[in-house]
Amino acid sequence: MSGMPGLAQRMNRGLHDASERVAATPFGRPVVHAPLVFGLLLVAYAVQGPGSFATYTILTILIYGIAVLGLNIPAGFGGALSLGQGASFAVGAYTVGALTVDNGWPFWATLPVAALVGLVFGLVLGAPAGRLGEIGLALISLGAVLITLDLIVALDGITGGVTGLSPIGLITGFGAEPTYSLWLLPVLVTASALVAYLLHYAVRVSLIGRSAMATRDEPIGATALGISGYRSKVVTFTLGSGFGAYAGGLFAYMAQYISPDAFTAHLSILLLAMVILGGAGSIYGPLLGAVILVLLPQALAAYAHVNTIIYGATLMAVVLLRPSGLISRTAAPVRDRLRASADDPSGAEEREKPEPAAAAERIRNAGPDAGLQVRGISRSFGGLKALDSVSLGVRPGEVLALIGPNGSGKTTVINVVTGLYPAEEGRIVLDSEDITRLKARRITELGVARTFQTPKTFPGLSVAEHLFLAKRLQPPGQVVGEDLDPWVRRLLKLGGIDPDDPRMMARETGQLGHGQLRFLEIAMAIRHSPRLLLLDEPAAGLSQIEMQGLEQVTRELADLGIAVIVVEHHLDLVTRLADRVVVLELGKVLWEGRPDELMDAEAVRVAYLGGAG
């Protein structure tokens, strides 16, 4: 085993780079490669014959492919492990089967109904399951497969029970006889797979897809961007089930006979294995998984035991050696660009200094209740009183530094203000609106942005996708009306991320360093155009130059009328940047005043700097 990790790592690195390069070519775009590849399949059918074994094999791959693309939506994008895609597959197959055998419906009516039934099935299951953790969801979805099988047997009036349903022919019109054309099924399946592939891609680049990925990678960071993890779980689960049921419907037409034996839990496991092997969350990896796990057993069909053993060993090998699957790249392109890049990339942002007059005017005219008012908030963890009746406030245009020894409650203030932990006592008022009882997501939507002590970014998403997710939250009626893109660009550059380099912007943040992530996170917070900005130890781990840049940008943002709270340990930075300082100790406000008076305050010296001096 000793040489393995190094080898596996190099292999993994190489595969990832390769997929990054492919994604950068025009061929990497689904609208370019998908029609090409699927068109070639039609040629293959013509060469091999539409009723040949080769065609049958391709159709099997495509039908499983549709189901695994569907499964990739909740399991890959959403990280919601489902052992139940086979249940949706069965539901779709039986919908088509029953409508065809019992009612003589044509395929263009049965398949949409199957997809619809699949969506409803997914919603009914996903609504409670979306509240569960990973294990809970796995067990519930496994249970769903078992009860679906039992229900198929129990409802034998419709489903034919254990004997099953047949013949399921492709009927082209109500009252018509099943078609004898050998071409209809291959064309139908291939066209469906093409549409499914493009739809799957559309879901990935949609707000839902990106939100699901963000929740998968870093749930708390996603909440800080105003994303509802529950909603994206339920939606992705529902969509995935729709894909699964449609694929099941096609399967019924291909098999012409269905019985419960075809839909055991092993099918669900196989579908999940295809997704993981190919690359969960990647755009075409799951299809690759379907190709491999359909062809491999065929190639080994002659060796009965070996075949199954290799399948089991593959499951173990993939999670041991390459847990992200063969195609590990999960980032997807973003259309929307940062402003001020087209006209003059060199000095555009330099010219966009804040307009002091307008901003200063806005700050001056702000009412007495403008900004954040925290009044007597308390919060305990078990027996520990982390915050004990803390009051503080910050006005638009002001930078408030929050300092204090470790464990004094600085971060807890931020967590309580942003709604991550509810306050047990006291009130929090933002621009005269009481936000004490609001959910974290709602508070974000009101224009409160924050960063974390360790950046909570999303390793599987590209830099551009991060900025996209931050932007869409721009709430209406902001105090700061300015377009902050120039500052976003400056922050990125400070972190060593060139916003005009498409390859850099397309890079997954899992590949970035600490400083880059820290500036990216602050840039995201700004992009969401906040009226209150909470920075939790932004300078930790930064170089002197980076720190100076950060200081300058923060000052400028405040001058635009943003209220800023900075939790910081670098006292020199605090002294230069802050308008006011609040010192916390053991959950209480120990001292409050101007930064230049800080060093003279006896109480602060004793508590914070230690010793009686």
Binding site: A273, I309, Y311, V319, G382
Partner: protein, 293 residues
């Protein structure tokens, strides 16, 4: 009333003990490793199959069969722990170990299918499942044995957990893998020991359930699922919780089977799981983890 006892209570208790024994093994593993072993069904069948191969196919004494089967089971458990569980101990992600233990179960089931060509076989040395009449109440030795064994095993493991240093060490790993490692308790050794204990539970479970089950490499996912439900009801990290979890699963399942029919057992199980997850996500006796940012 007698009907209820005979049709629901007694078979429900026996079924509950079966689910509870599965749950007990899951909990023992889960507490130290954070892994639920999807190959446990095969481990349960390995013991009786081993005895059958040695004593039925090869015609050697049953005692020898038991010894060989125990050794094979231990070896398989250690191998599984090394390749499919250890790499994912307390990793916080379920996807990898679900696939690795499922993969292991696929390989193991296929190997176990070789001696009898995948045919289910009767186990001739099991405890008698013949019902005896005790004043109108029908009960078999097999039913009594599995319920008693279940309760004794839970009691023994609870005492081991609370009263011995080794139990304390396992709990330390369960609470904080890195913290335990820092004070010299090896998470790897803890994982191995837990796997062996779970393997021991599998051996006992296997010898008990073959009174009513044929020996086959595919025990079926329903056993596994009922065990998961019992563990989730009691709390995935609670040893004594499996008593409540097991018997709730057994009685609810048997009630559904008796009054609605066999096809509704899993639906009843599923409902129990859903209700527990939505009302008490950590189970009746499980502890909620403290949220940390």
């Amino acid at each position: 009333m007698t009907d209820f006892i005979n049709n629901v209570l007694i078979p429900g208790a026996a079924g509950g003990a079966t689910a509870g024994l599965f749950a007990l093994a899951f909990v023992v593993m889960y507490r130290t490793t954070g892994v639920l072993n999807f190959a446990h069904g095969q481990l349960v069948m390995l013991m009786p199959l081993g005895v059958l191969v040695v004593s039925d196919l090869w015609g050697l004494p049953v005692v020898l069969g038991l010894v060989v089967a125990v050794l094979v089971l231990a070896a398989v458990v250690l191998m599984e722990e090394r390749v499919a569980i250890r790499p994912f101990v307390q990793s916080g992600h379920a996807m990898p170990w679900i696939l690795s233990t499922l993969g292991f179960s696929v390989v193991l089931a296929e190997l176990m299918a070789i001696p009898y060509r995948a045919q289910p076989v009767r186990f001739p040395w099991g405890i008698s499942a013949k019902a005896h009449d005790l004043g109108g109440i029908q009960v078999s030795w097999a039913e009594i044995a599995i319920v008693v064994a279940f309760i004794l095993l839970v009691a023994a493991l609870t005492i081991f957990d609370r009263r011995t240093t080794t139990g304390l060490r396992l709990r330390a790993v369960a609470q904080d893998k890195d913290g335990a490692a820092a004070i010299g308790i090896s998470p790897g050794a803890a994982s191995r020991l837990s796997a062996l204990i779970a393997g021991g539970i599998a051996a006992i479970t296997g010898l008990l359930i073959v009174s009513t089950q044929l020996v086959s490499p595919e025990l079926g996912l329903t056993f596994l699922f009922n065990g998961f439900v019992a563990a989730a009801v009691g709390g995935l990290d609670s040893l004594h919780g499996v008593i409540a979890g097991g018997f709730i699963v057994g009685i609810v399942g048997q009630t559904a089977a008796t009054y609605m029919g066999g096809n509704y057992v899993q639906i009843a199980m599923f409902s129990v799981l859903l209700v527990v997850y939505l009302t008490r996500p950590h189970g009746l006796f499980g502890r909620a983890s403290v949220r940390a940012v």
